[in-house]
C-alpha cells in the first residue's frame, strides 16, 4: 500500500515526545543562549525556567483542545466540524503561512551557522539546497519514518551532548553563576521571551496528535517533550555561562558551538565538529516537522489528495524565501531578536487560544440547544 493510501501513520507516544523535542531544540540551542545570556547575564537560567513554566501552560492548552477531539480527526478537520469551513480556511492559511515562514527561517539559520562556522566559501544555495533536499526526501515518507529517524538521531545526539558536558568538566566554573538574582525581573523576563517563543513551537502537537497511537497520553507526551526540551536548553545555557562567564556568550553568535571548541585535551580536541554533526542531524528533523506542518495545513484546507509534489514545491519556496528574505546576518539577527517571538506567539498561542475560546463557546451553545430539546 502506498503512503497516499494510509490516512494516518501511527507513531508511538515515545516517538511523539522525541519529535516534539526535535521540533523545539535544534534552533533554540543555537539562538537562545546568546540572546538570553545577553539580556539576563548569569541569571539566564532563570529565564529558561520561566519560559519552561509558560511552555507547560501552552501544553495544557493544546492538550485541552485535543481532548475535545477524541476520534483523532486531523486538527483542521476537527476545527471545521465545530467552527465551519470559513474559519477553518482562515486558520489553515494562517498556520500554513506560519509554518512556511518559520521553515524558511530555520533553513536560513542552518545556512548562516554552517557558512559562519565551517563552509565559508560554499554558496548558500548549495548548503540550503542539500538540507532541503534531504528533508523533503524524509518528509515525503511520512511522519512515522521521520519519527523512526528521530529516535536514532536523538540517541546519538544525547550521548554526544553528555559526553561533551563531561569533557568540559575542567572548564566549568560554578562561581560564574553568582551573584544569583543580580539581573532585574525585567531582564530575566526579557531573557525568557525568545525561549517562550521557541517553546510555543510545541503547538505542532495539535497537528501531530491524530497520528499518535495513544490519544489519551497526549498531555503526558506534551509535558515530557516540553520538559526535555527545556532541560537541554537549560543545560546549554548553564554550560555556556559556566565556561565563558556571564559577559562573553552575549557577544558570541553561537556560544554553544564555541563551548565545544574549548575542549582541548591531549587525546581529544575539535569537539565542535562533533557538535556540528549532531546538530545538523537534529535540524534536518526540525525542517521535516515544519514541512509536515506546512503541507498538512495546506492540503487539509485545499483538500489536496496528492501531497508529494507539494513537499517539493514548498521546499523550493521555503529555500528561496530563506535565501532572499534576509539580506544579511544582521537582518536575520534582528528578526530573531525582535520579530520572531511575537510572530511565534501569535500563531502558536494567540490563535490556538482564540480557537479554544470559540470551541468552548460553541460547545456551551450546543449543550444549551441539547438541553432545550
Amino acid at each position: 500500500m502506498s503512503q497516499e493510501q494510509i490516512p494516518y501513520q501511527q507513531i508511538s507516544a515515545f516517538q511523539a515526545v522525541i519529535l516534539l523535542v526535535h521540533t523545539i531544540t535544534p534552533t533554540a540551542m543555537l539562538v537562545i543562549p546568546s540572546i538570553a545570556i545577553g539580556r539576563a547575564g548569569q541569571d539566564a537560567w532563570m529565564s529558561i525556567l520561566a519560559a519552561w513554566a509558560c511552555g507547560m501552560v501552552f501544553i495544557l492548552m493544546y492538550s485541552r483542545m485535543i481532548r475535545d477531539n477524541p476520534a483523532g480527526v486531523p486538527f483542521l478537520k476537527f476545527v471545521e466540524s465545530r467552527l465551519g469551513r470559513v474559519v477553518t480556511t482562515i486558520v489553515g492559511v494562517l498556520l500554513a503561512h506560519y509554518y512556511l515562514s518559520t521553515l524558511s527561517g530555520i533553513i536560513r539559520e542552518l545556512i548562516e551557522f554552517l557558512s559562519d562556522a565551517v563552509l565559508l566559501r560554499t554558496p548558500m544555495l548549495v548548503i540550503g539546497g542539500v538540507a532541503v533536499g534531504v528533508a523533503v526526501y524524509s518528509a515525503i515518507h511520512g511522519l512515522e519514518v521521520v519519527a523512526r529517524v528521530g529516535i536514532v538521531v536523538f540517541g546519538f545526539s544525547v550521548v554526544l551532548f553528555f559526553v561533551h558536558i563531561f569533557l568540559l568538566v575542567d572548564h566549568l566554573h560554578l562561581k560564574y553563576l553568582a551573584p544569583i538574582g543580580e539581573a532585574s525581573v525585567n531582564h530575566i523576563i526579557g531573557g525568557s521571551f525568545p525561549a517562550i517563543g521557541w517553546f510555543s513551537e510545541s503547538s505542532l502537537l495539535l497537528l501531530m496528535a491524530p497520528y499518535v497511537s495513544r490519544q489519551a497520553a497526549i498531555r503526558t507526551i506534551g509535558l515530557w517533550g516540553m520538559s526535555l526540551s527545556a532541560m537541554f536548553l537549560l543545560l546549554t545555557v548553564i554550560v555556556a555561562i559556566l565556561v565563558f562567564g556571564p559577559s562573553l556568550p552575549g557577544m558570541m553568535a553561537y556560544p554553544t558551538s564555541s563551548v565545544a571548541e574549548t575542549i582541548d585535551y591531549d587525546f581529544v580536541e575539535r569537539m565542535d565538529v562533533l557538535f556540528i554533526f549532531s546538530w545538523m542531524s537534529t535540524i534536518y528533523l526540525k525542517i521535516c516537522m515544519f514541512f509536515f506542518g506546512t503541507v498538512h495545513c495546506f492540503r487539509t484546507v485545499f483538500r489536496v489528495q496528492n501531497r508529494k509534489p507539494f513537499y517539493i514545491a514548498f521546499g523550493v519556496l521555503a529555500l528561496l524565501t530563506g535565501l532572499y528574505t534576509w539580506e544579511s546576518t544582521a537582518d536575520l539577527s534582528e528578526y530573531q531578536r525582535y520579530a520572531i517571538v511575537p510572530f511565534k506567539l501569535s500563531m502558536n498561542v494567540g490563535l490556538p487560544f482564540l480557537l479554544l475560546l470559540a470551541l468552548w463557546i460553541t460547545k456551551k451553545s450546543r449543550g444549551r440547544e441539547v438541553d432545550k430539546r
Partner: protein, 407 residues
Amino acid sequence: MSRRARALMRIILIGLVCLLTTGCWDRKELNQIAITSATAIDYKDGQWIVSYQVVIPSAISAAMTTVGGGAAKLPVIVYSTQGKTIREAVWKSVLESPRRLFFSHTRVLVVSAEATQQGLTPLIDVYLRNPDSRETVNVLISEGEARTILEQLMQIQIIPGDGIQETMVGEAKDLSILPSIKMYDLAMELLGSAKSAVLPEIVISGSPGVTTAEELNRTALSSKLRLGRLAVLGQDKLVGWLSRQEAFGVGFMRDKVHMTSISFACNASSREEESAFRLMQSKTRLTPHKSGNSFVMDIKVEGEGSLLETNCPVDLNKPDVIKAMEEQLEKKIVANIEESWLAVKKLKTDIVGFADRIHRKYPKEWKKLSENWEATFLQIEIRPEVDITIKRTGLSTKSYKLQSEKD
C-alpha cells in the same frame, strides 16, 4: 526498466550526489595551505605587523629521520606582513606566499609589549570572529619584537610553536608560577568585573638567537626560549610587569597554583633554604568582609604535598618536626602573598580577582563600587592564612644529614 536496474540507478545517483556535495568550495588541499604553528603581533608606525611561523612538512619528515646527520632543512620559516588592521595584514600574505595561511593549528600567539599599548581588543575580536583562528590558542607577551620569538629554533621540539605551547602548559601544570592563558581566558578576564588580565612573558635568553641549522646543531645553544615574568594588563593595555616571585603569590591569590615546588628554611632562625617541598594540590578561597568604607579580604590557602629534599638534621618520623616544617612553608607562602599584594597594589590593577569576589558577595554595593573600583581596591587589606600538610616524606625517614652527624 527492471527493478534491479532502477536500484542500480539509484545507487549511482546517490554516489554522484555524494561526490558533488562534498564541500568542494571549502576543500583544503594539504599542498595548498601554509600551516602556521605560531603567530606574532607587533605594532610599528601605525601598522599591525603580523608574523607567521609556517611549518615546512617535508623538512619535518627530514628532521625526524636525520637526527645528528649534518645540516638538515629547517622545519619552519617565518615571514611577516603588515596592514592597518590585523586581518588586512593577514590577507596581504597572498602577495608573497604561494600557499594560503591556515591558522587552525596555531598553538601560540605572541604579542609584543608595544602592540599591547594599542589595546588588545582588535586582536580578541579577530579570534572570536573568525572560525579559522581558534580561541584555544595560548597567548604570550614579549617585551621586545614578537617576531624574533618566532625565529628562535628549539632543539627538542622540532616545531618551535608547539614547543612554546607545551612548555607553557607544562609550566602552568607542574610549577604554576605563570598561568597558561588562552585567548578566551583573556577575553573573559578583560570583560570581568576588574577589566584586567595577566599574560606570561616569553623571552629569548642569551644571544645570538638560534635561527639557523648550524646554530641548532650544537649541544649547548647560544640562546633559548624561556618563560619570563608576568605582564599585567588593565583595560586591555599593558600596565606593568611582575617578577616570577611576585607572580607566584599572585598565582595563589588567583587560585591558579596546581602543583609547584617550594624551598624553605629548616627553622625560623635559619636564613638558608635547605628543604624542598612539592605542593601536589592547592585551593585558595577568597572571602571579602566589609570594614567601614573598605574591605578586608581573607585569603585562605589549603594545600598538601610531599617533602622532596631536606638538608636539615631532622627525624621525619616525629610529628613535631613535620609540624615545624609545615609552619615554615606556611610562613613562606604568607610572605610571598604579602609581597605580591604590595607589587599588585603598586600597579593599581586588580589581577587577583578581588573585584569578582566582592561583586559576587555584595552585588548591590558593587554597582557603586565599580564606578571607582581602583580607589576601593587600593584600600583593601588582606589577611592571608595558609594551611599546608606534608602528607609524605619520601623513602627516607630521617634526613641524611642527621644520620651523618650521629655517625
